[in-house]
Structure formats: structure tokens, C-alpha cells
Symmetry: C2
Subunit: 331 residues, 2 copies
Amino acid sequence: MTRGGVMAIKIDGGKFLIAGGASLVGSHLVKAMIAGNAAKILVYDPVLFDKTDSLGALKEDPRVHLVPGDVTKLHQFIEQMDGIDGAVNLAAYMSLGFSQNPWDAIDVNIKGHLNFLESARLNNLKKVVFASSSAVYGFGIGGGIAEDMPHKTNGIPAPAAAYGSSKIIGEQLCRMYQQKYGLDYLALRFSTVYGEGQHHRAANALYIIETYERLTRGQAPQLFGDGTESKDFVYAGDVARALVMALESEATDAAMNISGGRSIMTKDLVQMITDIVGSPIQPEYIEDDGRVRLKTGKGLHYINSKAHSLLGWKPEMPLEDGLRRLLGSLQ
Amino acid sequence: MTRGGVMAIKIDGGKFLIAGGASLVGSHLVKAMIAGNAAKILVYDPVLFDKTDSLGALKEDPRVHLVPGDVTKLHQFIEQMDGIDGAVNLAAYMSLGFSQNPWDAIDVNIKGHLNFLESARLNNLKKVVFASSSAVYGFGIGGGIAEDMPHKTNGIPAPAAAYGSSKIIGEQLCRMYQQKYGLDYLALRFSTVYGEGQHHRAANALYIIETYERLTRGQAPQLFGDGTESKDFVYAGDVARALVMALESEATDAAMNISGGRSIMTKDLVQMITDIVGSPIQPEYIEDDGRVRLKTGKGLHYINSKAHSLLGWKPEMPLEDGLRRLLGSLQ
């Protein structure tokens, strides 16, 4: 049943569907595909295409088609993938979403992804890319994380473990479709994505915005514990470039980290934002406030050498420059 | 929103629902509940209650109610849990099911379990027990496995990783319902269950039956590789006793291994079955045949001391005696 070898696919002149494309990553991907001269970019997303999307002026481009698409509707997915060359599935609820609405989170992250794959193979797409997550490794971990690390679920918030497992299932469904039907795929495990177009739904990157908003209101930024918890941020534009390279790559049937590859302590992140804002306000150290928050160990970073060897990708945006862009877009 | 302390629940005089109750474990649980003088035992299972179920003569007991129940139907679950004191969710597709039908496997294992929990909290059940699995640790592992081990997904068959992740999500949904609504639960992680009433759906325990059937046909039993792969079998009657103790226990919000706690190499298992059958036939060692098979490391066993400390449970059936019972039931 396999189709024997990966077919060539090019952004230039190609037709693409992006599920969840009105998001932070989606907006950067649409921009990259326009720059790459795609013939058609179908944004399949249930948001109202208005001020709540991250697309902005990209919506005006004649190559961009906006469809109020629902990943839980198989028939709609099948219909919309007609004539498409490659597709990217960015549609997902994250940990906060699993906490607030596990019903829809399961439908979107798991059943929705199965609908995505089924529609892709029925329409003979040449390549699909799945937005996985570093949450497949769990939380409360530290040090350098490569792709063969197991999933640590013990002692972490329930919605976060459920989210991570939903991404593991998503990757395994890709593998099953590759084995059964020869549908070529790559799974990209994003670390914490940030950039212009940032929304308020992501638990980790939200911290950047909260820190900024407190500073601009004249309030002290808040640091939990001793501020040595570490994160690995990756710029949305770097992620978009990885998605484009994954679509064009001949590599298939693999999962890889897409990350900054560098650890930053939350206290250093807050200092960096404070310096960018030009504020003299010092942070305050507080106890945990009971919100869903994903603790990390020391020195956490996701090793991204596999993406470099398979795709030739590596992150390019320095964190400080990317933060300037994000904060500049909030003003 | 929590209900403040675990309410007492007793099998004696109590009313219970068992989702997936027509199964191997279900039939042993029904038997244990009859022995414990339950007032009502509602078997909620989509099988036809005929020769394909594992219940046999238990179906004739007036306390046993048979409902062709579908865990994917929330309304049916809610209706059937009316007046029930405690419930057990055994309904699941295993790795083979995920391979053959990922659609229904996802609906049953994840959405079905969410329906189970929602129905339980709407009907104010006192306690629920979730049948989790040692698959939450992944496969290809060896040695002694305690409850804090992470999930190894790397390098294992896709359907097995998806199955293990579906059980992790099931446990996390239990945690979320305990936190949000005070619904008390325990999650029991079964190792490979065997016993009278064994069906042909479970990949690991199936090996016992295949070995037996080859011997009785005069064929040599087959061993993969060098026969040193190890498994940890637990007798279905011991599992049923753990489920009863979990329902009656005041312990809540915990997951624990329910296992034999001892490792057996496949070559020793085959020898044990050969001895029971009284056959002189020696096994043949073969290469892998490409079926979905779950490889294990050396000395694999699941440490069950947590179940002993929380429930007072430990396995009682020696493997050889349990195998005699199972093989006797096949004649």
C-alpha cells in the first residue's frame, strides 16, 4: 500500500492547507508561504477571521483563502483538501484548554488529527506535517532533551500530562498512516513558541506578555520560586521556516525537536524584558499561586541537531531580538 | 466543589456498574461481586450476551443485569448509572484494536472514559475505579517498574504507544474529575491478565493460548528470538479482588500496579505449559513474523507494593495453578 518513495513538493506554485492556521505559528507560516510563492494557502480554522486571529493584513493576500474549518468534521476536511499538495496540522488545545474543556480538547487534538490524516490520504496529498510538542517529554524535567527521551507524567498537572499524551497519540497516528497507506509525514516537536501575533492561550509564552504588561502598568514582574526555572523558547518565524523545510524535505516518518536549543532561567528572561522596556522596576519573588503552571528543572533545553541533520534547519533568531519584535507588536 | 472525604462503600448490599463487564476481567469481577453479596451488578457492554461473552452461567444470576451499553453514548451511560453506588471502567481497545480501528479505539478508550466519569459525577457515585494498564510505561523495558516510571514510547509499535497514551489520558481525566468535582477514584494498572474466560483480543496473554493450541495439535510451540523476553502475568481472579478492594477502600486519587510482580521468561512459560499439557514436544525458536508484538527487556516485572500498602492487596494465585485453570477451561 505504500506509494514508494517521497514525492517532490515545492512551496513555489504549490497548494497548501493549514489547519489551525489563524494562530501565532499559522500567521508566520502563511507569511513564509507567501514569500515562497505558494499558489494557494488555505487557512482552515474555526476562529472568526477578525481581530481575534493572528493573520492581520495577510488576510488580504489573494492567495490566502480563509475557511471556517472544523477539524472535528471529517466531511469538511475531505472536501477542503481537494486539490491540495501538502498540509500542516497546527490545530490543538494546549494544557489550559485540556483543563477548561477536556471534551473539545480530545476531539480536536486526537479525533481531529485522525480526520486530518484520513482526509490527506483520501486526497493523495504528497506530504503532511504535524505540529507536535516538547510536551511529549512531560514536564518537571531539566537538562538537554533529545528525541528518544520517554514521557515523564509523574507528579505533573493532569491537563499537561493529558496534553502531552494527546501529542504522542497524534505522532503515532501519523506513523500508522505512513505504514498503512504510505502517507509521508514529519512531526515537529515545538518548544515554547513566541513571536508577533502571540495570543493569550499558551501557558508558557504567556509569561512574556504578563511580565511586559505588569511593567508597562508600573507593577513589579512576578517570579515564581527562586526564578531559576528554565525554559527553551523558539521564535515563531524559525518554526515557520522549519515547517516549510519539512514540507519540502524528502525526509519522512520521523519526529524531531524544533527549539531554540538554549536554556534561559525565568529571572534572566524577566531581566531581558525589563531591559527592553527600559524599566527600573525590580521583580518580586512569589510563591506558587495555584494556576496551571508547568514547572521545569534546571538547564532545560531541547536538542535540535536531528532537525539540522534531516532538514538542514537551525534556529536563527536571537531571543532578545525576537522579544523586541513581540513586545513591539503589543504597543 | 470537593465532597470532603471518601464515603464508605461496601460490595455487600451495594449497586455497581461494570463497563466492559462481559470481558475476562469483567467475568471474574462479577463473580467476586456475587460472592460479596452485591445487590445489583449491571454489566454495561456492547457485546451480544451469548457465546462471545466471558460471563457463562453468571448471566443467570438474578442480581446480574445485562445492558448492551455503549461507552461512547453519554446519554445511555447517565441513564444506566442512576441509583448506582460505584462503577468500574474496563471498556477498552488494546494495542491490536488501535492498529485495526484507531477511530473506535480513540472513541472508546478516551471519549468513552470521559463519558464514564461525567455520568458518575452527575449520578453522585461514591467511587469509581479505572482499569489502566502497565502499557503506561511503554514497552521494550525491563527490570522492576514502579509507579513513578516515565512512558517509553521510543522505538515501539505505533498502536502500542497510542494505547499506552490513551491509558495515561484516562488516568489524568480521573485526576481532573477528582480535583474539579471531588469524584473519588483509583486507577489500577494491570500487567498481562490471564485466566479462565480468556478471549483472543489481548496480544500478550494470547501467547498462552497459542502455545497450548499448537501443543494439542501436535505442533511445536514457537519462541521468538532466544526466548529470554520476560513478562509479568497476573491472574484475573487476583485482579477482580483488587478491583473490589479498590471500590471498598478509602484511598483515592492514586494509580497503582496490579501485577504478579514476578518476571517469567517466555521459554520458561512455554515449558510450564508443555508440562501441564504433558507433551514431549520441544519448542522451536523462530525469527519475528511481523505481527504486532510487544517486546520486553530482561527481568520485566511491575512492583506491586503500592497496592499492598494502599489496599492491602497482593497477588495470591501461583502462575502454574492459574495456567492449569485457564488451560482446563479451554478443553
